[in-house]
C-alpha cells in the first residue's frame, strides 16, 4: 500500500545508563525497510528502553538513530512521525474510537471528509467497521488493541513500533492477533519494530529477531537461523526448549559424548569446550538397536517419564545418572512407539544436520 514511505532504521552505538545500570550498552542494529523485526529478551533486558529511544521518549546518553538518512536522536517525539502501539494501549478515554483514530489526522490538518475516509479504512483493516462511535470503555481487550493499532498506522507513519501489544490478551486471542498483525504488516509494508518476551510470538511473527540480554544484542537473525543455529547458550536456552550435553574433545579435535562421536572436527579451534544443543522435537524414537552412523547419532537410555499433551507427547530419557534427554514426538499412530513404557530401554536418534554446537559459556 505505501511501501514507498517505509524507512530503514540504523542504530549505532546507542547507550543508555540508569545510574550504574547499563540499560543499553552500545547497541548497533540495522533494520531494513519494510522489515518486521522483533526485539526479544527477558524482563529487564532493555527492550522497552530501546523502543522508547527510537520513539524519542527517552534520551540516550550516546549514539545515533537514523531513519533513512535523517539523524533522529535529537528530534522531539512529536516530530519523528513513528506510529506506536503502547503496551497499555494508551487510548484517550474522552474520545470515541473514531476520534482516537482520527486524532493524528486532525493534527496533520487533514480535511474532515478525507480524515473520515481514512479512519473508516483503518477500522476496516483492523476489522472493527461499525464500532467507530463506541466509547473506549465499551470495548473488549482485543478490540482496544486493534484500535490502538489502527491509530498507530492511520497516519501512514514510516515506522511502526509495538511494545508487547498482545501481552494483556488471553492465549487464543493472542494467537489470532499475531496472525492478524502479521497480515496488516504485509498489507501496509511499514518498517516494524515489535517487542516481546514471548519467544513463540517472536518466532511466529518476525522477519528477523534481535535477541537482547542485559542491554546488549546477542544475535540478530531470521527465526529459522536463531532457532537452528543459536550463537550461544543464552540464545539456545531462551528460544525453544533444549537439552545441552557437555562434549569432550580428543587429540584429533573430534567432539564426542560418551562413546558417540558427535562431530569429526572442532568448529572453532580456539575454543576448547563445546556443548551439544538438542531440540526435543529433532530427536526421534527408534525401534530396535540402531547404531550411530554417517547420518545420525544414536543415544540409548531408559524412559523415566511420559506425558501426553494433545498433538504431541513428550518423554524423558535418562542416558546416565545425570543426563536426561527430553524427546518430543507426534501422537499419531505412525510416530508412536509400542514399547514406550516407564523404565523401557529405548534408542533415540538425532540426524547429523540437526546437530547444534555452541561454545561453553565464558569461552568466547
Amino acid at each position: 500500500m505505501n511501501n514507498s514511505t517505509a524507512l530503514p532504521i540504523s542504530i549505532r552505538g546507542l547507550t543508555k545508563k540508569y545510574g550504574d545500570l547499563n540499560a543499553l550498552n552500545s547497541v548497533d542494529l540495522e533494520i531494513k525497510s519494510s522489515e518486521f523485526l522483533t526485539l526479544l529478551g527477558p524482563s529487564g533486558s532493555g527492550k522497552t528502553t530501546l523502543l522508547m529511544a527510537i520513539a524519542g521518549f527517552n534520551r540516550p546518553d550516546a549514539g545515533s538513530i537514523k531513519f533513512g538518512d535523517a539523524e533522529m536522536v535529537l528530534t522531539p517525539p512529536h516530530k519523528r512521525d513513528v506510529g506506536m502501539v503502547f503496551q497499555s494501549y494508551a487510548l484517550f478515554p474522552h474520545m470515541t474510537v473514531s476520534e482516537n483514530i482520527g486524532f493524528p489526522l486532525k493534527l496533520r490538518g487533514l480535511a474532515a471528509k478525507e480524515a473520515r475516509g481514512r479512519v473508516d479504512e483503518a477500522l476496516a483493516t483492523v476489522q472493527l467497521s461499525g464500532l467507530g462511535d463506541r466509547g473506549i470503555d465499551q470495548l473488549s481487550g482485543g478490540q482496544r488493541q486493534r484500535v490502538a493499532l489502527a491509530r498507530a498506522f492511520v497516519f501512514r507513519p514510516r515506522i511502526l513500533l509495538m511494545d508487547e501489544p498482545l501481552s494483556a490478551l488471553d492465549k487464543k486471542l493472542r494467537e489470532h492477533m499475531q496472525i492478524e498483525l502479521k497480515q496488516i504488516h504485509r498489507q501496509l509494508g511499514v518498517t516494524t519494530v515489535y517487542v516481546t518476551h514471548d519467544q513463540r510470538e517472536a518466532l511466529t511473527m518476525s522477519d528477523r529477531i534481535a535477541v537482547i540480554n542485559d542491554g546488549e544484542l546477542v544475535q540478530v537473525d531470521t527465526p529459522e537461523a536463531i532457532y537452528n543455529r543459536p550463537k550461544d547458550q543464552f540464545v539456545a536456552d531462551f528460544i525453544g526448549e533444549s537439552t545441552m550435553l557437555a562434549l569432550t574433545r580428543d587429540g584429533d579435535g573430534r567432539l564426542s559424548f560418551g562413546a558417540e562421536i558427535i562431530s569429526s572436527s572442532t568448529p572453532d579451534s580456539s575454543v576448547s569446550n563445546w556443548r551439544l544443543v538438542i531440540r526435543p522435537e529433532r530427536l526421534h524414537l527408534l525401534e530396535g538397536g540402531a547404531n550411530t552412523s554417517e547420518k545420525q547419532v544414536v543415544f540409548r537410555g531408559r524412559v523415566t517419564e511420559y506425558v501426553f499433551q494433545g498433538e504431541t507427547a513428550f518423554a524423558l530419557v535418562a542416558l546416565n545418572d545425570t543426563t536426561i534427554l527430553s524427546v518430543r514426538f507426534g501422537t499419531g499412530a505412525g510416530s508412536r512407539l509400542r514399547s514406550l513404557e516407564l523404565g523401557a530401554l529405548v534408542s533415540v536418534g538425532l540426524m547429523r544436520e540437526d546437530v547444534i554446537l555452541i561454545p561453553e559459556e565464558g569461552q568466547m
Binding site: A55, F57, P76, P77, H78, K79, R80, D81, V82, G83, M84, F86, S88, A90, L91, F92, P93, H94, F103, P104, L107, R108, R151, F155
Partner: protein, 300 residues
C-alpha cells in the same frame, strides 16, 4: 432428594434465596437508621423551621410578605448579585492559581508531592478566623505587604488592600484554594503518563497535547473543585465580614445585619431560603452539564 424436571431445578431454593435477600435489605436499613435519625434532627428539622419562619409575618400569620419585600427592594437583588459575583471571582482566582499548583503536585514524584501537599493543606489546620485576621494584618495600610511594596518601589503610597473587594477576594481565594486543588489533583493523578506520550507520538506538540488530552482529562476534577468552591462561597460569612469591612455585602453578612439591627427572623429566614434554593439550582445545573468525578456524585 432427586429433582428431575428442569423447571423444578431452575426454582431450586429460590424462595429461601429471596427471603434471604429481603432480610439483608432490612438489616442494612436498620444499620443506617441512626444516621437517618441524626440527619433528620440536624438537617431536615432546622431547614424546615427556616422555611416555616420565612412564611410567617410579624403578626404570626401566614404571608408572602418577606418574599414580596425581596422582589420590591432593589437592595436585595444587589446583595444576591454581589454574592454571585464574589463567588464567581473567587472561583476564577482559585482556578487560575489552583490548576498550576495541582499540575505541579501531580507531576512530582510521590515523595515530594506529599511534602508540597502538606503546604497546601496546612491552612486547613488553623482556624478560619485566625487566617482571616492574619490577612487583615498583612493587607492593612501599614501592613507587611504595603511596607514591602513601597520599600521595593512597587507603589509609592499605601494601597487600600483590605476592607474592600480586593481584600475579600484575596482572603476567600486563600481559604478556598485547597477545595479546588484536592479534587483536581485527584483527577490529574489518574491521567497515565502514557497518555501524553501517545499524544506526542501521534504528532501533538506539547501545547497541543495539553489542550486536547490533558485538559479534557482533568476537566472533571476542575469542574468538581470549582463547584465546591463556588457553592461554599455562596454561603460564606467570616471572611467577607472581616476583610470586606462592610463594603462587600453578601447574603450571609446581610442575614446577620438583619438579625442584629432589625431582629427580623422572618426576613432573615426568607433570605436563607432563597440562598439555599439558589445553591440547589447551581448544583442541579452543574450536575446536568458536567460529568463529575465519580468520587463526588457517584457513578452515572
Amino acid at each position: 432428594m432427586p429433582v428431575s424436571p428442569d423447571i423444578e431445578k431452575s426454582s431450586l431454593h429460590s424462595q429461601e434465596l429471596q427471603s434471604q435477600k429481603k432480610r439483608e435489605e432490612w438489616m442494612l436499613l436498620g444499620l443506617s437508621l441512626p444516621a437517618i435519625f441524626v440527619i433528620a434532627l440536624v438537617v431536615i428539622l432546622p431547614v424546615g423551621w427556616l422555611f416555616y419562619l420565612s412564611f410567617v409575618d410579624s403578626q404570626g400569620s401566614f404571608s408572602f410578605e418577606h418574599y414580596q419585600k425581596m422582589v420590591e427592594y432593589k437592595s436585595y437583588a444587589r446583595v444576591f448579585i454581589a454574592t454571585f459575583k464574589v463567588s464567581a471571582l473567587t472561583t476564577l482566582i482559585c482556578v487560575a492559581l489552583g490548576y498550576p499548583i495541582a499540575y505541579f503536585l501531580a507531576a512530582l514524584p510521590s515523595r515530594w508531592s506529599g511534602i508540597f501537599m502538606l503546604a497546601v493543606l496546612l491552612p486547613f489546620w488553623t482556624s478560619l478566623l485566625v487566617r482571616t485576621y492574619a490577612w487583615l494584618v498583612l493587607l492593612q495600610r501599614k501592613g507587611l505587604l504595603n511596607d514591602l511594596a513601597i520599600q521595593i518601589g512597587l507603589w509609592d503610597s499605601p494601597v487600600k488592600l483590605v476592607h474592600n473587594m480586593t481584600g475579600t477576594l484575596i482572603g476567600m481565594a486563600h481559604i478556598m484554594l485547597p477545595f479546588l486543588v484536592l479534587p483536581l489533583y485527584g483527577a490529574m493523578k489518574k491521567i497515565e503518563p502514557d497518555m501524553m506520550q501517545a499524544a506526542s507520538n501521534l504528532g501533538a506538540s506539547p501545547v497541543r497535547a495539553f489542550c486536547s488530552i490533558y485538559l479534557p482529562l482533568s476537566v472533571s476534577g476542575l469542574a468538581a473543585g470549582s463547584l465546591i468552591v463556588f457553592v461554599l462561597c455562596l454561603g460564606f460569612y467570616v471572611t467577607p465580614a472581616v476583610l470586606g469591612g462592610g463594603r462587600v455585602v453578601m447574603v450571609a453578612t446581610q442575614i446577620t445585619a438583619i438579625l442584629e439591627h432589625q431582629f427580623d427572623w422572618g426576613a432573615a429566614s426568607a433570605l436563607g431560603v432563597v440562598l439555599l434554593l439558589a445553591t440547589v439550582l447551581v448544583l442541579y445545573l452543574a450536575g446536568r452539564f458536567f460529568k463529575f468525578d465519580t468520587a463526588l456524585f457517584g457513578k452515572r
